[in-house]
């Protein structure tokens, strides 16, 4: 790849070295205290706050020239914001990019954990909008910090229990809170709760960056992560009760696509790489076209 004159003006992976050191120190402290939100002096990035600046800064601090980067948004590699962030790093760090989960060394994600199991040597970087799991129960940072200090998580259980009283079940379907290593309650970012079981005991390193809110937190590999629940109302990872209409996958998270204005709809894997991989293997869903046939 040729690096244009415009990008030469910027450092490898965009951020200056002092900023990277600051972020790197925060990441290490995050790994040492899993689930605890480490404050960091987030920088303005050339993309807006709320569009992945935290994830981008964490990725920039982790990338090395040999990396192969994958970026997904809603599970898909081809959504506009994923494309934009992938291009940004291809330009400023000159790293190779990929859409294949298995080939990536660093994966930046918004709202999903890939279906293909992650492996040792991979880093999953989450973009986090609101890192504080207690924020919607208590808007004040000074209060929530104290609650974490004192392990005062009763309010969270009360909220979940109120759900059960009102709805007969816990009515939180994404950004479902977890407890890490029996200590900190953590917001796993707005992933669907379907993905929660993949947070714990993962062979990969999971890093979370919240740019606007200036927080970094982390899950080392093989960390205990428990979705909050009650004995009589155990946590359940749910998805649409369908198979993927393109690849037939039964156990992947699905997007619902409206196909016409007469109520027609179909369900497809939100993880585009997973779905394409299955189709390439010849797996076909209700509305899918077999790879051999599609090639004609």
């Amino acid at each position: 790849m040729t690096i244009s004159r415009e990008t030469q003006a910027y450092n490898f992976a965009y951020l200056d070295e002092q900023t990277k050191r600051m972020i790197r120190r925060a990441i290490l402290k995050g790994l040492a205290v899993p689930g605890y939100q480490v404050p960091f002096a987030s920088r303005e990035m050339p993309m807006p706050y709320g569009w992945g600046t935290g994830g981008v800064q964490v990725t920039a601090a982790c990338l090395m020239p040999e990396d192969r980067l994958k970026v997904i948004d809603q599970g898909a590699d081809d959504t506009t914001n994923a494309v934009s962030i992938r291009k940004f790093f291809a330009r400023t760090a000159g790293v190779a990019t990929t859409e294949r989960t298995g080939e990536a060394t660093v994966i930046q994600t918004r709202h999903r954990i890939p279906e293909t199991p992650l492996t040792k040597g991979q880093i999953l970087v989450y973009q986090v909008p609101i890192p504080e799991p207690l924020r919607f129960l208590e808007p004040r940072e000074t209060e929530t910090r104290k609650m974490h200090e004192l392990e005062e998580y009763g309010l969270m259980h009360v909220k979940l229990y109120e759900d059960i009283a009102r709805h007969g079940q816990i009515a939180t379907s994404y950004a479902y809170p977890v407890k890490v290593e029996g200590r900190y309650v953590m917001d796993p970012s707005p992933i669907p709760k379907f993905d929660n079981p993949k947070l714990g005991q993962s062979p990969a390193i999971q890093l979370f960056g919240a740019g606007r809110e200036q927080r970094i937190f982390a899950l080392p590999p093989f960390t205990d992560v428990v979705s909050l629940d009650f004995d009589d109302y155990p946590f359940a990872a749910t998805k649409a009760p369908h198979d993927c209409d393109l690849c037939g996958a039964r156990q992947s998270y699905l997007d619902e696509v409206i196909t016409d204005d007469r109520g027609g709809r179909m369900f497809v894997c939100s993880d585009t790489d997973f779905c394409a991989g299955r189709q390439a293997e010849g797996k076909v869903g209700r509305l899918g076209v077999g790879q051999a046939e599609g090639a004609k």
Binding site: N11, E17, R25, A32, Y36, R183, Y184, P203, A218
Partner: protein, 189 residues
């Protein structure tokens, strides 16, 4: 003397420090695992690995404590030139570098505050050997168990008891590093 002070840093800092950080990241994320680092040539008695950790993580915003034989003019000059880290007493240090005996008593290092456990020291401990034989380690980052030749166990067990407070440790030996975050449980031996 001056030449030694000015040399031994990262040539092409952005990529060298990126690779070094990944090794440190893997070490801290997977306690007890040993990783190789390169590209720093600090003055004696510092190991290559200790030099790499300093260059990768320290700068003018990170107070550094040099303990024992690490606290000598050549090292101080090198640290000043390449990192700008202010040299301080153990109680104020964000990073501390030295052999285990020189760092003792480790209870004087910062362990963070209950509301900000991240404000704790990271110890860089120079070792003669680094092998995966020693007390068993369990906890976050470790699938079942791993082993590392720690300089002692009592201090690390006491540190674990403070969790989520506590210091974090990076062991250095030649061009190799391993780490022991405060979250790791250390077997009593």
């Amino acid at each position: 003397m001056i030449a030694d002070t000015l040399s031994g840093g990262f040539a092409d800092a952005p990529t060298k420090s990126a690779r070094a950080f990944r090794a440190i990241l893997e070490a801290m994320a997977r306690p007890g695992t040993i990783h190789t680092v390169t590209a720093a040539q600090p003055p004696a008695p510092l190991s290559v690995a200790a030099g790499v950790v300093l260059l990768t993580l320290c700068d003018g915003t990170t107070p550094l404590h040099l303990a024992g034989t690490a606290d000598r003019a050549e090292v101080r000059d090198w640290v000043a030139f390449h990192t700008g880290a202010p040299l301080v007493a153990p109680e104020e240090a964000a990073f501390a570098l030295g052999r285990w005996e020189a760092l003792a008593p480790v209870s004087c290092f910062r362990i963070g505050q209950p509301d900000y456990p991240d404000r704790s020291a990271t110890l860089i401990v120079e070792m003669d050997r680094l092998t995966n034989h020693g007390p068993a380690l369990t906890g976050p980052g470790i699938e079942t168990a791993t082993w590392l030749n720690l300089p002692e166990t009592a201090a690390f067990r006491a540190n674990r008891a403070l969790f989520p407070l506590g210091f974090d440790t990076i062991f250095t030996c030649g061009d190799r590093i391993a780490a022991l975050p405060r979250s790791t449980r250390v077997e009593a031996v």
